[in-house]
């Protein structure tokens, strides 16, 4: 066996530099990217796909499409116990729940005991929590990551999608979108 590094000058010798260039371009983009975190989803204005998820914890029921057709707008929060930003947004979710907003959760690729631990640590703002082990529901509603939060109106139609954790400064927007969804 010879050295892993190439013997003759070839393209491979420049590979580290090329990879570094790609890394550099990526983080430059990351630093200058617009601060606007709102992304218009193709699913906005569409009804929720039909699904029925098992309960993710013992003390909350599971989640199904029918639960969103009760006439009142709700938040649908996609989260996971292994996701750090999800812990960061928990005070904001708690504040929303306190204001009477009903929040339903979908736990992505998670285990029951981990979800229970996560909720015990960060508080449990959810009325219902469904367990989505293969990200099927997540993908079907146009969410590609955790956390994401959807505003669903009283007829089960997706009205707004918030990508990433809900921060303090996003609260007024979320409340506004909930109000819009009432009409």
């Amino acid at each position: 066996m010879s050295e892993p590094a190439p013997k003759r000058p070839g393209l491979a010798i420049w590979l580290p530099l090329i990879l570094f260039g790609a890394f550099f371009a990526l983080v430059i983009w990351g630093l200058v990217r617009p601060a606007d975190r709102e992304v218009a989803s193709a699913f906005i204005g569409k009804p929720l796909p039909s699904f029925a998820l098992e309960a993710a914890v013992e003390d909350r029921p599971g989640l199904a499409t029918a639960d969103f057709k009760a006439g009142k707008p709700k938040l649908l929060n996609v989260f996971a116990s292994w996701c750090v930003p999800c812990a960061i947004e928990s005070p904001q979710l708690a504040a929303l729940a306190k204001q009477g907003v009903e929040i339903d959760g979908v736990a992505i690729r998670d285990r029951r005991e981990d979800v229970a631990r996560f909720l015990a640590t960060n508080g449990n703002p959810f009325a219902r929590i469904g367990k989505d082990d293969l990200s099927q529901v997540q993908l079907a509603i146009g969410s590609s990551g955790v956390p994401e939060t959807f505003v669903i109106d009283g007829k089960g139609v997706i009205r707004y999608q918030h990508i990433g954790e809900i921060r303090e400064e996003d609260m007024s927007l979320i409340l506004e979108k909930l109000k819009e969804a009432e009409s």
């Binding site: 066996m1 010879s2 590094a5 580290p16 530099l17 983080v27 990217r33 292994w82 930003p85 990508i163």
Partner: protein, 651 residues
Amino acid sequence: MIAEIGLAVLWMAAALALLQLFAGISALRPGGKVLAGVVRPLAVMQGALVAVSFLALIDLFLETDLSVKLVAANSHSMKPFIFKLAGTWGNHEGSMLLWVTIMAVSGGIVALVEKRLREDTLIATLAGQAFVSLGFYAFLLLSSNPFERLPEPAPDGMGLNPLLQDIGLAFHPPTLYVGYVGLSVAFSFAIGALVTRDVGPAFARAMRPWVLGAWIFLTIGITAGSYWAYYTLGWGGWWFWDPVENASLMPWLAATALLHSVSVLASRNALRAWTVMLGVIAFSMSMVGTFLVRSGILTSVHAFAVDPERGSFILALLAIYIGGALALFGIRASTVTEGERFSPVSREASLVFNNVMLCGILGIVLLGTLYPLLTEAFGAKVSVGPPYFNPVSAIFAIPMMMVMTVGPLLRWRKDNPGRITATVAVPALLAALALLAVVVFAPGIRLLPMLGIAVGIALAVASWFPLRGRNLRRTPINVWGMVISHFGIAVALLGAASESAFSTERLAAMNVGDVQSVGPIELKLLSIEPVAGPNWTALEATVSASYKGGEPVTLHPQARTFSSPPGERTESALHTRWNGQLYAVLGNEGEDGRWQMRFWWKPFVPLLWLGGLLVAFGGLLALLGRVAKDIKRLRVFDKLAYRKSRLEQLK
């Protein structure tokens, strides 16, 4: 006055670094030999001056000089002594000064003691070191002056982030920093050797103690950081694959690979270009880590260290140094001749395998860390967590550890596999038995912990085999170092696997007087009372815990509220036994007046950190062994030179 002295001395040191760079460059040109003699003294003086500057900053923090902006912003007169001291580096400016200090002092030490390397390679190395530190000097002096005065002294300081007021964390960042900066020395050596085309065993021997030293500190830093996250974040977990944790893991992985390849280069003169490349990568990972932490480009639990503007500065330095080094590598690597050859069954080959696996893990960790940013560039935001990292890194880690059981037993250059078959059969059999036992007695256990236990047991036994047939008292101390480090990896693996497989948990709402149990432990909530510390107040629960009905011990988990600056933190309580650890957390008061309590029983979890410390201790032994050998060799050289001069005198 102290602040002004500190700043003046820092400027002087920066000027010396500039001189060191130019003197180094001109000394390497034809006809520049006159300047060759000044490079070493410049490096030593630079190191001494920066050390003075850093001492000045420590003094300002210890006195709580509130006319200095940095002290006012990060300290408080009421803070305990140890946190005043830690406040020196518990902020951006101070930590950058610490960085420059370690870098310059290491440069000074290289200049003082390094005698084996060719003189021109050493000068190129010191010039490289000066070039790298100049960037950080510019950063400090132009955009983050730690000695800046306030127009009016502040009435009192703002305090230190409560999360940081923890004894473990006070020393966790500087430990990692020493590691990062130690790798900068390895980087400079790699650059020096590339510039003078002097990549060989002498270069590897000069570089090795620095890689070892840096690696020891990184190991301790990661172990301590993991323990800190375990007991202060109150989540009961010990590794979260958080971007900042990954940022400390990646340089460690690269340094581990470098450590092994540098040994091959030093003793066998093989893997030349590869070692140089790893030297560059290891320091790149340190800088990428620093960049990820400081820039806030990724969401992390370490959000307190974030400042995008500073992130861009570090990114610019990263582009100059790493981009430059990789370009130099591209230009020069083809002139680095191929080293000695070796057969697929040999010590070298097993080390190459180890290197490839470590780089594989490094690659997947880097990819996983940057993946959210990558997908965001294409319009989607994702969070990557343990479901990705655990299995994918195991794909590389498990085969690597299996080869670890065999590698140290192989001979250099070429070996006969039949020679060690009988020896290897023992750990293989043990692993099979362990696997069987786990399947029979703990059928619910998942695949990764199961493999972890099997491989861990095999490695724990096999790691001692290199001592077989040796006279233990005459075994070189660095061989002991390797044995203990490898054993430490096995111990840590067993701790992690046991934690993941056998932990039990209890969430309970408790009134005072209630009894609960977790695993083999019975718990009773005795009281909940307010207590006060120097700059915090807390609710403290008193819990008595009894293991299998034995003598009860008392634990005091707290929920602390800090006054300056305001903040909250849970202080979990731990009770460690030889066979595991009880972990207790006090949560909130529920609406019905009962207290949310959480308990975990984690069998053998302390092995995890014990293993980490063993790995570092093995590294320390290896370092001592190498340094002792070097000193011996130098003495022999000195004696020879003395005899030679006497002989000439006699003639």
